[in-house]
């Protein structure tokens, strides 16, 4: 069955099992490998992408459910908030092994898109679904605050 979706601004057609999780569709069939497999049960957040701007766990989202929707992966992240997050991540040397960081960045970018001045509690709520076994959490928190400081306050509600 052919499924049409928009990935990083490009319309893509996939001939795959409609039940296939979006994660494996974008990794194995579109060769976009920045999005990671971590648990397959929406428990770790490594597979986070944006669907119509909303952070979504691609490992449990059937590819058929995103037909006609806009999917953004780490490769296509180009929002102001996204860039601010990535700049802060590099500046503070957040990553260690780095494997979970695509998902962390996608979750953080989505947080800042809707809330340009998140409190620590906002960060806990938005990021608690993303596991980092290297426990880079102290720096993730600091980097989100730093990215927020770099954003114009009008970019989101405070």
């Amino acid at each position: 069955m052919s499924i049409q979706l928009t990935v990083n601004g490009q319309v893509r057609e996939l001939d795959v099992d409609p039940d296939m999780p979006l994660l494996w569709a974008i990794r194995d069939h579109l060769q976009l490998t920045g999005t990671k497999f971590g648990c397959g049960m929406a428990l770790c957040g490594a597979c986070t992408v944006h669907i119509d701007g909303q952070p979504t766990r691609s490992c449990i989202t059937p590819v058929s459910a995103v037909a006609g929707k806009k999917v953004t992966t780490i490769e296509g992240l180009s929002t102001t908030a996204g860039r601010a997050v990535q700049a802060a991540w590099v500046k503070l040397d957040v990553p260690q092994c780095g494997y979970c960081q695509s998902g962390q960045v996608m979750s953080a970018a989505a947080l800042l898109a809707g809330n340009s001045r998140p409190t620590d509690e906002d960060i806990d709520a938005a990021m608690a679904g993303n596991i980092c076994r290297c426990a880079t959490y102290v720096r993730i928190r600091a980097a989100i605050h730093q990215a927020a400081d770099a954003l114009p306050a009008a970019a989101g509600q405070s």
Binding site: Q96, C100, R133
Partner: protein, 745 residues
């Protein structure tokens, strides 16, 4: 053919009689550096990582390559799994080379010994691998010499080009200069430098003149790739025609395939092959989804006659009995512990239990194999390149030198990727063999495969009986430890001494405190659950029983926990210094505001040549534990990249707290009870201490590791803080305050 299979591996890993590990390390370090840089570099052309300089316009030595584009690439023999070797090792080279940090690059070395052997692992550097927090320690002299040698060659090339004395040339920040004003970049000089003989003896910098080493914030070389999704891990390798495999493994450890019905599996669209391999049944599909669905449809009957069928409770019961038995091995003995305990004014006996723990790196085990008639290529986050090469060769029936290893960044390991059987690499090689090499194959372990797949930190039981003298001094310690051996039954058994697995007893109470009368014994149960080193190995449990028992003894002696420890650390000045630094920075001498469930605790531990002390502050609310603040002091010798040291301390705290607060693998009738992160809980951002302060003890000693030593003292520091807050002593991991409270009543 230089070695093959396990007996030869044992030989590789042993060291000459009568040579201490420290001496051995020193000898091999010096020999290694001279050998590799002094000899002509054998180009591993097939491996593509480091190129020969002969006839080219770049300068290449085993560890450093300088390209005409002015980049300096450090060839890294160690696995980057997050611990920062891709930054720390280049920093050592850049320092001696006087390079600019901006021009530094890094890439993984091919599997090649002795050139890339770990000098801490065995004679003649014949095993390449990463572990024991040795990367920086064993590379320190080697890479300083590599950097200094390349620098000397650049200077010679400039001197020849400008027809001036080499002694009038300076190098700074990546620029070679002469007092006349002439300047050249490394890239401009690389081709001429490459034609020069490699100098045998080059001087090293006086550490007082280090510019990059010790710099507070040297940016990591991998941050950009890891923040943009462009870092390649094994799971990201895409080869033309590649298929994806998953393996159905037995539901109980030790079971074997009895029969297979692959009819339904083969009917799943996208499934291309179902093959039996030594560890189970592999289902190969055109993508991960079809392979996974194929495995769900596969019917395997298992022969469980030899399988481990006991549960954790049963095992622990047997461990307690073993601890009282007579066949324990003596790991340490001094003085007369029986008499000293008999004469003690006060004797305290405590028991500790530690669960099996899975490593659960974020990148589940993944490996890729492409097999040809006389060549096998492996892509993986390899932690034991030499052993992986041998095991892959055995699996496909080739010689080790016909196996090319491409070491990629690993999405975490914590010890999991280093095992004597190279499990996930042997598996992918065996699938390639069973499918005749007709396509490249990628093996992915699901998270369930990972959590239920064994090779856990061993289940452990400790009992400590300790005696205090009338004046409250610790005079005798008897420690009984029971836990499976990681080394027994593997080639690493050659490192066992007097029947004792050093990784089972390392860091015990009598080893790290000055106690006049002490005996430490270890009993080795036979259990069918595979075990492995887990971040900080034996120290992951030994530090806990030691530091909680010491705290209890300090309390019994009516002494301050810091003062009590310091009195027992006269022969361990580095531990004493770290303890004092952490206590000082945490304001230990000021009263801590007790009440409202708040408490403060301390612990110190030496492991892998480094010392770490933590002060933990906690809040306990309705038996829920929150760690508010950790003040850490670390002595790791010269801190090459202090920000990486801080990152590793933060990481060790988080990883250690995952285990202390939640981590356990349990078995019921031999089946693992946990399957994924909903049952095998790990630390999340909302549970992480908000404040972790890291203080580095100034040192001029050569660097020692930081990937593991921050972990052992965190759980006991928190347990001691909980005791201060609640009066409850936690001696069983993971912490269950409600259970401990009701057990006390």
């Amino acid at each position: 053919m230089y070695f093959r299979h396990t007996d030869n591996l044992s030989m590789l890993l042993s060291r000459p009689e009568g040579v201490s590990r420290r001496d051995f390390l020193r000898l091999t370090t010096l020999a290694g550096a001279g050998l590799t840089l002094g000899a002509a570099w054998p180009a591993p052309a097939a491996q593509g990582a480091a190129k020969s300089s002969a006839g080219s316009n770049l300068l290449a030595t085993p560890f450093v390559r300088i390209d005409p584009d002015n980049t300096v690439t450090v060839i890294c023999k160690h696995l980057e799994a997050g611990q920062g070797v891709w930054t720390g090792l280049p920093a050592v080279v850049a320092e001696e080379l006087d390079a600019s940090w901006d021009q530094m690059r890094v890439e993984s070395a091919p599997a090649l010994v002795p050139t890339y052997g770990n000098l801490a692992f065995g004679p003649d550097a014949r095993v390449q691998g990463t572990g024991g927090s040795t990367s920086l320690a064993n590379s320190w002299d080697q890479l300083r010499h590599a950097g200094a040698t390349a620098r000397a060659m650049l200077v010679q090339a400039a001197a020849a080009r400008w027809k001036v004395a080499a002694s009038d040339i300076t190098v700074s920040d990546g620029v070679v200069s002469h007092s006349s004003g002439r300047k050249a970049t490394f890239g401009e000089l690389a081709a001429s430098a490459a034609r020069l003989p490699v100098p045998a003896n080059v001087g090293l910098k006086d550490p007082a003149h280090f510019k990059l080493i010790g710099q507070e914030k040297l940016p990591r070389l991998d941050s950009h790739a890891k923040s943009t999704g462009t870092q390649q891990f094994a799971i990201d390798v895409m080869l033309p025609g590649m298929m994806t495999a998953v393996i159905a493994r037995p539901p109980r450890f030790g079971a074997k395939v009895q029969s297979i019905d692959a009819t339904a599996a083969k009917a799943v669209p996208g499934v291309v092959d179902v093959v039996q391999v030594p560890r189970g049944v592999a289902v190969v599909g055109r993508d991960m989804w079809s392979a996974k669905k194929g495995r769900e449809a596969l019917k395997v009957t298992w022969d469980e006659s030899a399988a481990e069928k006991r549960g954790t409770d049963e095992l622990l019961k047997s461990y307690r009995e073993l601890s009282r038995g007579k066949d324990a091995h003596v790991a340490l003995s001094r003085g007369d512990v029986d008499a000293a305990l008999k004469g003690a004014a006060k004797v305290i006996e405590t028991e500790f239990e530690f669960p099996y723990l899975a490593h659960a790196p974020m990148e589940p085990l993944t490996s890729v194999c492409r097999l040809g008639a006389d060549r096998c290529e492996i892509w993986a986050g390899c932690q034991f390149q030499t052993i992986d090469q041998i095991n892959a060769a055995t699996a496909v029936g080739l010689k080790p030198e016909q196996v090319t290893i491409y070491t990629l960044a690993a999405g975490g390991t914590f010890g999991r990727r280093a095992n004597a059987e190279s499990d996930y690499i042997s598996e992918v090689a065996s699938i390639a063999k069973a499918t005749g090499g007709k396509y490249p194959v990628r093996l992915i372990w699901t998270r369930e495969d990972d959590i239920t797949g064994g090779r856990y930190r061993p289940l452990n039981y400790h009992r400590i009986t300790a005696g205090l003298s009338k004046d409250g001094k610790l005079v005798a310690v008897r420690q009984s430890m029971v836990g499976q051996s990681i080394m027994a039954g593997t080639p690493f058994a050659a490192m066992m001494k007097d029947g004792v697995d050093p990784t089972a007893v390392e860091g015990n109470t009598a080893e790290l405190y000055d106690v006049e009368h002490a005996q430490v014994t270890w009993s080795q149960p036979t259990v069918g659950v595979p075990v492995l080193w887990w971040r900080s190995v034996g120290h992951s449990h030994s530090a806990f029983s030691k530091e909680v028992a010491i705290d209890e003894l300090a309390q019994a002696a009516g002494q301050d926990p810091v003062a009590f420890r310091l009195a027992l650390l006269e022969k361990h000045p580095r531990q004493a210094a770290a303890l004092k630094l952490a206590a000082g920075k945490a304001g230990w001498d000021r009263p801590f505001p007790q009440g409202n469930g708040r408490g403060r605790g301390i612990a110190v531990h030496e492991s892998f040549g480094s010392v770490v002390a933590h002060v933990a502050e906690v809040t306990v609310t309705d038996d829920a534990i929150r760690v508010d603040r950790v003040v850490c002091a670390v002595d790791c010798g010269i801190a090459v990249t202090p920000d990486v040291v801080r990152a590793q301390m933060q990481s060790c705290v988080g990883y250690g707290l995952s285990a202390a607060l939640y981590g356990k693998i349990t078995l019921t009738d031999g089946r693992v009870d946990q399957t994924n992160f909903h049952q095998y809980r790990v630390m999340r951002i909302n549970e992480m201490p908000r404040l972790i302060e890291v203080h580095i003890v100034p040192s001029s000693n050569p660097p020692s590791g930081v990937g593991e030593p921050g972990l052992p003292p965190i759980a006991p520091a928190v347990a001691n803080a909980i005791r201060a807050a609640t009066g409850i002593r936690l001696r069983k991991l993971p912490f269950d305050l409600a259970a401990a409270r009701s057990a006390k009543v």
